[in-house]
C-alpha cells in the first residue's frame, strides 16, 4: 500500500509499505477513503515531538470502509466508519469512565518507557503520533490496522459525504471538548487563541454551548476572517496588545474563560517566545508556551482555562502565581474523542453543524509532502488539507 511516511524533520514522502493484516482478535482493517493533515501533525513534521522514526506512517484523522475483521470485532466488512485518533480498550478503569485518551491498555508495553519517564505514566495509544503514543501506524495511507475495533470506530451512515464526517475523528470533538472544559455559562465571554481548525471548532462549539461572545486571537488574516464568519470578534496579535485589548473589550473584567488552541508552537516576537524558540532549537526545551502564559494572565479572576493545544515537555516562566492567586481552573488533555462522536454525528445528521466549511484544499495522497509544506508555510489560505488515497 502507499502511505505518507516521516523521513526526517520537514521531510514527508509517500512510499510503498506492507499492507496491514489482522494481528489481534479485536482488530479490523480499514480502507481509507479520506484523511486529513492535523495541526498537531506539524509538531511531528517540525521535529518537536520526540519518538518519531524514519518510515513511520503519519496521520490520525481518517475514515473509510472495513475490509477485514478479527474474530472478536463487531464490525462487518463494507461498513463505513470514522476512526477516532485515540486508541482505547474500552475495558480498563479509565475507559469505564469514558476517559478514553487515558486508557491504561492501548499503548504497547515496549513503547511505554519514554512517556513514563517524561510524564510519570505511559500514555494511551494514538494513530500515527510517534512512539510515545504506542508507535501505531497512522491513517495517511491506503489501509490501516484498527485495534479494539469493537469499541473505537464510529459507524456512520452511507448517505453523508466524507467531508462532513471526517473531522469527527479528531478536531471537531477536540473543539467540542475544549469548549466543555471551559465550562461555559450562558452569556459568557470566551477568548480563543488560535484560529486554526481546532480553534475554529472551539469557537463554533463555544457558541453552541451558550457563549454570548467569543473573541478570536490569531495573526493570520485569512483565519481571523473565518473566525469572524462564525460570529467571533477577531483580534490580530500583530496589531493589538492582547492583554490590554481583552481588558478593553470586556469592560475591565477579562474573559470568563480562555481557550489555548495553539499549544507548543506559539508564534510572535515576545521575549519569552524568542527564548522558548531558542531553547526548542537547541534541544533544551520542547514547548513554546507563550500563548498559555498570556491566556492565564488574561483570564478573569475565578475564570476557567481550557487547553486543547498540544504540549509535550516543560515550560519555563509558567505563571503559577496568577493561576493560584486568581483562583483559575485549568482543564486540558487529549480528546476523549469517542465520548462525543454520537452527539456530534447527530448534530451533523440534523444539519446543526456542517464541519466541511473548514476544508481549503483537497489533494491526492501522493501530494502529501506538498500538503504538509503548504499547510505549515501558507497558513493564510491553507486552512485544512484533506487527502484521498
Amino acid at each position: 500500500m502507499r502511505a505518507a511516511t516521516f523521513q526526517g524533520k520537514g521531510h514527508i514522502e509517500v512510499r510503498q509499505m506492507p499492507d496491514p493484516k489482522i494481528v489481534n482478535p479485536r482488530d479490523a482493517i480499514v480502507e481509507v477513503t479520506s484523511t486529513a493533515i492535523c495541526g498537531s501533525d506539524l509538531h511531528l513534521y517540525d521535529g518537536v515531538i520526540p519518538g518519531v522514526e524514519k518510515d513511520d506512517i503519519l496521520g490520525h484523522e481518517f475514515m473509510g470502509r472495513v475490509v477485514d475483521v478479527g474474530r472478536e470485532s463487531t464490525l462487518t466488512i463494507g461498513q463505513r466508519v470514522v476512526v477516532p485518533f485515540t486508541i482505547f480498550c474500552g475495558q480498563c478503569f479509565q475507559c469505564a469512565d469514558q476517559r478514553y485518551s487515558a486508557c491504561d491498555n492501548s499503548c504497547p508495553v515496549e513503547n511505554q518507557q519514554v512517556a513514563e519517564k517524561a510524564f510519570g505514566y505511559p500514555l494511551a495509544g494514538m494513530f500515527g503520533y510517534s512512539h510515545l503514543t504506542g508507535g501505531y501506524a497512522g491513517g495517511q495511507a491506503e489501509l490501516v490496522r484498527v485495534p479494539y475495533s469493537d469499541v473505537i470506530p464510529q459507524i456512520v451512515p452511507d448517505d453523508i459525504p466524507d467531508d462532513r464526517l471526517l473531522f469527527l475523528s479528531d478536531i471537531l470533538p477536540t473543539g467540542w471538548m475544549a469548549a466543555l472544559n471551559a465550562e461555559i455559562e450562558p452569556g459568557d465571554t470566551i477568548a480563543v487563541w488560535g484560529c486554526g481548525p481546532v480553534g475554529l471548532f472551539s469557537i463554533l462549539s463555544a457558541f453552541h454551548q451558550g457563549a454570548g461572545r467569543v473573541i478570536a486571537i490569531d495573526g493570520v488574516p485569512g483565519r481571523l476572517a473565518m473566525a469572524e464568519g462564525l460570529g467571533a470578534e477577531p483580534v490580530n496579535f500583530h496589531e493589538t496588545d492582547i492583554l490590554d485589548g481583552l481588558m478593553q473589550m470586556t469592560g475591565g473584567v477579562g474573559p470568563d474563560a480562555v481557550i489555548d488552541a495553539i499549544g507548543m508552537e506559539s508564534h510572535g516576537f515576545s521575549i519569552d517566545n524568542i527564548a522558548d524558540r531558542i531553547k526548542q532549537t537547541v534541544g533544551m526545551g520542547q514547548d513554546r508556551a507563550h500563548v498559555l502564559r498570556q491566556a492565564i494572565l488574561a483570564c478573569r479572576k475565578g475564570g476557567r482555562v481550557s487547553v486543547p493545544g498540544v504540549y509535550g515537555g516543560k515550560a519555563d516562566l509558567f505563571p503559577l502565581g496568577a493561576l493560584m492567586q486568581k483562583g483559575l481552573q485549568l482543564r486540558t488533555g487529549q480528546t476523549h474523542v469517542r465520548r462525543y462522536t454520537e452527539e456530534l454525528l447527530d448534530m451533523i445528521e440534523r444539519d446543526v453543524i456542517d464541519p466541511s466549511f473548514l476544508i481549503s484544499h483537497r489533494l491526492p495522497l501522493d501530494d502529501a509532502a506538498r500538503g504538509y509544506r503548504n499547510f505549515r508555510d501558507h497558513q493564510d489560505d491553507w486552512i485544512k488539507v484533506v487527502m484521498q488515497p
Partner: protein, 204 residues
C-alpha cells in the same frame, strides 16, 4: 578589603565548612526505612544480601481470574520477560522466564513456598545454602480500580549481576521487566489481548 579581613573571612568560612562537615557526619542516617512502602525506600533497597525490586498494577478482575491467567494462559507466558511461570506438571514449581534465566549466573529451580488462596503466592529458588531469589505476588482489593497485584522480587546481586550489568542496572532491568509483565497480564485479562503496534502478525 585588606589582608586582615581576608584572613578573618577565610577563617570564618573554614570554621563554617568544618562545622557543616561534622554535622553531616554526625547526622543520624535515615534509619526508619519502615516509613516507606516496601521497595520504595530511598536509602535502602537492599535487605541483607538481597536487592529488592518490584511493581504494582490494578486489574479489573477477580483474584481468581488474575491467578488463573498467570498460571494457565500460554498467550501470557509467551510474552513474559521476568515473571516466573508455572511448570506444567508440578504445581509447586515455577519456571524462570527467558530474561530471568539469562540474567542468572546458574540454573534456577524455583519452588512455591507459600500459597494463600486468592491472596498471595510466594516462591524461592533452591540453592546450595540459601536462595538466590525470593519473590511473591500479593493481591488486595483496590476498590473501583480492581485488584492491586504487587510482585516483589529479591535477588542476590552476585548471582544475577553479570560483568556486563552492574547491580543497579540489573535491579532496574528487573523492576522494568516485572512492571511490563504485569501490564501485559492486565491487558490480557481486561481486553482479551496484548496491545501491539505491529501491522502484521509476522512483523518484528
Amino acid at each position: 578589603m585588606n589582608l586582615a579581613n581576608w584572613a578573618r573571612y577565610g577563617l570564618a568560612a573554614t570554621l563554617a565548612t568544618a562545622a557543616g562537615g561534622v554535622l553531616m557526619i554526625r547526622r543520624p542516617t535515615h534509619a526508619n526505612h519502615d516509613a516507606a512502602p516496601a521497595r520504595s525506600a530511598r536509602h535502602a533497597r537492599r535487605f541483607g544480601d538481597y536487592r529488592v525490586t518490584g511493581a504494582t498494577v490494578s486489574i479489573r478482575a477477580t483474584p481468581e481470574q488474575i491467578l488463573d491467567c498467570w498460571q494457565s494462559d500460554p498467550q501470557l507466558w509467551r510474552d513474559l520477560e521476568y515473571l516466573p511461570i508455572p511448570e506444567g506438571n508440578q504445581p509447586d514449581l515455577l519456571l524462570p522466564s527467558a530474561e530471568l534465566r539469562a540474567m542468572a549466573s546458574r540454573p534456577l529451580l524455583i519452588r512455591i513456598v507459600t500459597r494463600r488462596e486468592g491472596e498471595l503466592i510466594a516462591w524461592a529458588s533452591e540453592g546450595d545454602d540459601h536462595a538466590d531469589m525470593h519473590g511473591r505476588m500479593r493481591l488486595h482489593d483496590n476498590g473501583a480500580k480492581g485488584i492491586a497485584v504487587e510482585v516483589i522480587m529479591a535477588v542476590r546481586p552476585r548471582d544475577f549481576a553479570s560483568t556486563l550489568k552492574t547491580e543497579a542496572m540489573m535491579a532496574e532491568a528487573l523492576k522494568l521487566g516485572i512492571l511490563r509483565d504485569l501490564r501485559r497480564m492486565k491487558m490480557l485479562i481486561e481486553t482479551g489481548e496484548i496491545a501491539t503496534a505491529r501491522m502484521r502478525p509476522d512483523a518484528a
